[in-house]
Amino acid sequence: MADAAVPAGEATGISTRPSALRKFFLHNLSAKVAAIPMVATVLIVFIGCTIWTIYYSFTNSKLLPTGKFVGLDQYERLFATSRWNVSVWNLVGYGAMSLVFTLVVGFILAILIDQKIRFESAFRTIMLYPFALSFIVTGLVWQWIMNPTLGLQGTLRNLGWTGFTFDWIANPRMVLFALLIAGLWHGTGFCMVLMLAGLRSVDDEVWKAARVDGIPTWRTYISIVLPMMRGVLVTAVVIIGSGIVRLYDLVVALTNGGPGISSEVPAKYVFNYMFSGGNIGQGLAAATMMLLTVLIIMIPWAYLEFGGKGKRI
């Protein structure tokens, strides 16, 4: 449509023939002005800052980003640091378990709620409220529950069950599971809501057809409904996945990386080295590694969803 959107206040040389460049800027001006924050964000933050970080990760900056170029030095240091390696393995382990369990528990809960039960909204409310809470709150309350002397372990022992152990939070080999319990508590309700929406989008008549065919309910869920939920599953995986990479608050609150470094995660490593370790180069290298991981997962997914047959969701 025509340039009807040029605001009245624009004193442009309309009498003279506008150059092509000027025409480009004037056309649809209000929209462009309105989009400045978005454009700025994209250019400065998402593109600019990322490139900056990647570039300076190749320097030996310590307290200030002024170091000189040292190639892959920081990265070699990174992978020689046990704290980093532990962080990475922790994230892999936690991530895999969290993804699987969140999906499974979320799916099971969704199926349970889908069974035309009474008090459905009550159950839903109960399962979803943890999602409304901060990770800090989550971490702290579970830290208290898992307190060996006064929490669950201590209580049950005092009540007579002297052999009961639940000191995962203080046990370097089990601390990831402690994290998992808190993380699942926070996130499964949300996954359940997603899955439930997916379940409910299945046409009623498909259920009727399965019933006439004599297919038992559980089999219908697994063989017919689940394959129909591909879109929801992908969405759930993407969201859970992106949350896992960012894992930080929960660790800070629950264990602060401890005991020792047994529950360190990359996000925390980055933060510590960047702001309190006096070694910016290391922090930036670690951050770049986080970026790389995300890209490795994202690009195939993006290609699958948007590339390939050129279809859009």
Partner: protein, 360 residues
């Protein structure tokens, strides 16, 4: 004749709403019966009750002599075809057809035999490895019918199967369903709101309104001798013309005074003394010109609107002050304002009591 499906005293309430009330229906073996009515009349509900997908509030359902009122759909010996086809989207056609049989533990070769037979009957052989998303509407519906076929049951239930298809496909598939019935000779219970489907497919039609069967008869009877005003108005397109007036003995006096002798009418009971009545005549039973002169009742009329339909012409005029339509051949030139003579034979029409709306 053996009864295939028998419904006794069926009632269904949703909360306080009485959807079906004391319904009785006997369907013969091999019969093609159509449940016809507008949305909300209870026809789909009745079908779902027969299928076992809805639980009844009272009454019983018998299929092939067995009381299936408390039985699960899979144990009732029925197959069902749905309006939205309801195919399992992530399975191939072949898997769609065989899934129920596999779950039941049938031996592989028997499954294969049944699938092939269904594919042959419905001509979906080349489609067996495709997924529903890659099928046309008509193909999907055939697969849906196939899924019912492989179950090797006696009774087929159709829930408005053609409503999702466009007009051309609808008429094609309609013929196929009729062919299928001729070949298989199974009992088929078919729900639709489309009277054309009902008239063309049914052995008997059950017209339903508000959960009650208004008339249960073969298409010819329903068309020519509708049992009440509702059925008369529902069947037939364009619909029947209605003239209200008073019936006294053998004379029907329309509201504006026009007298129409109705002695030739086939009264169910002796003609009542005097009652308010409605006289109904179908547009195709009203004749024009010379043919009209041969009719027992004729009247002059002025053409008000002409609707040329290609194969014939529909004309609007007034009789006794009431708008009336009639059909005539498209060869006859008609124009607005023409003064013509039209007539009809009351023996082919219908008389209804104005108060009870029942056929006299």
């Amino acid at each position: 004749m053996q009864t295939s499906v028998s419904i006794k005293d069926l009632s269904l309430n949703f909360g306080s709403v009485k959807v079906l009330e004391h319904l009785n229906l006997d369907i013969a073996q091999g019969e093609f019966i159509v449940l016809l009515g507008p949305s909300g009349c209870g026809k789909s509900t009745l079908l779902n009750c027969i299928a076992g997908l809805l639980e009844v509030s009272d009454g019983q359902i018998f299929i092939n002599g067995k009381n299936v009122t408390w039985k699960e759909p899979k144990d009732r010996g029925i197959g069902m075809v749905f309006q939205s086809y309801a195919l399992y989207p992530q399975m191939t056609v072949e898997k769609n057809l065989s899934f129920g049989l596999r779950v039941a533990g049938m031996p592989k070769d028997e499954i294969k035999a049944r699938v092939e037979r269904a594919a042959e009957i419905l001509q979906i052989g080349p489609l067996l490895q495709r997924k529903p998303a890659n099928l046309s509407g008509g193909q999907r519906q055939r697969v849906a019918i196939g899924r019912a076929l492989v179950r090797d049951v006696d009774v087929f239930l159709f829930d408005e199967p053609l409503s999702n298809l466009d007009a051309k496909l609808r008429s094609d598939l309609r013929v196929e369903i009729k062919r299928l019935h001729q070949r298989l000779k199974n009992t088929m219970i078919y729900v639709t709101h489309d009277q054309i489907e009902a008239l063309t497919l049914a052995d008997r039609i059950a017209i339903m309104k508000n959960g009650v069967i208004q008339q249960l008869a073969d298409p010819h009877v329903i068309y020519n001798k509708p049992t009440n005003l509702y059925v008369a108005g529902f069947i037939g397109s364009p619909s029947m013309n209605f003239l209200s007036g008073t019936l006294q003995g053998e004379i029907f006096t329309a509201d504006d005074g026009t007298k129409i002798p109705v002695g030739a009418y086939d009264f169910a009971a002796p003609a009542p003394g005097s009652a308010k009545a409605v006289l109904g005549v179908r547009p195709e039973h009203i004749f024009l010109g010379d043919a009209a002169n041969a009719m027992p009742f004729k009247t002059p009329a002025e053409i008000e609107i002409v609707e040329p339909m290609g194969s014939e012409t529909l004309a609007w005029t007034k009789v006794a002050g009431i708008p009336v339509t009639f059909r005539c051949s498209s060869d006859i030139p008609l124009a607005v304002g023409d003064k013509v003579t039209i007539g009809f034979d009351i023996a082919r029409g219908s008389l209804f009591d104005a108060k009870s709306e029942n056929r006299l």
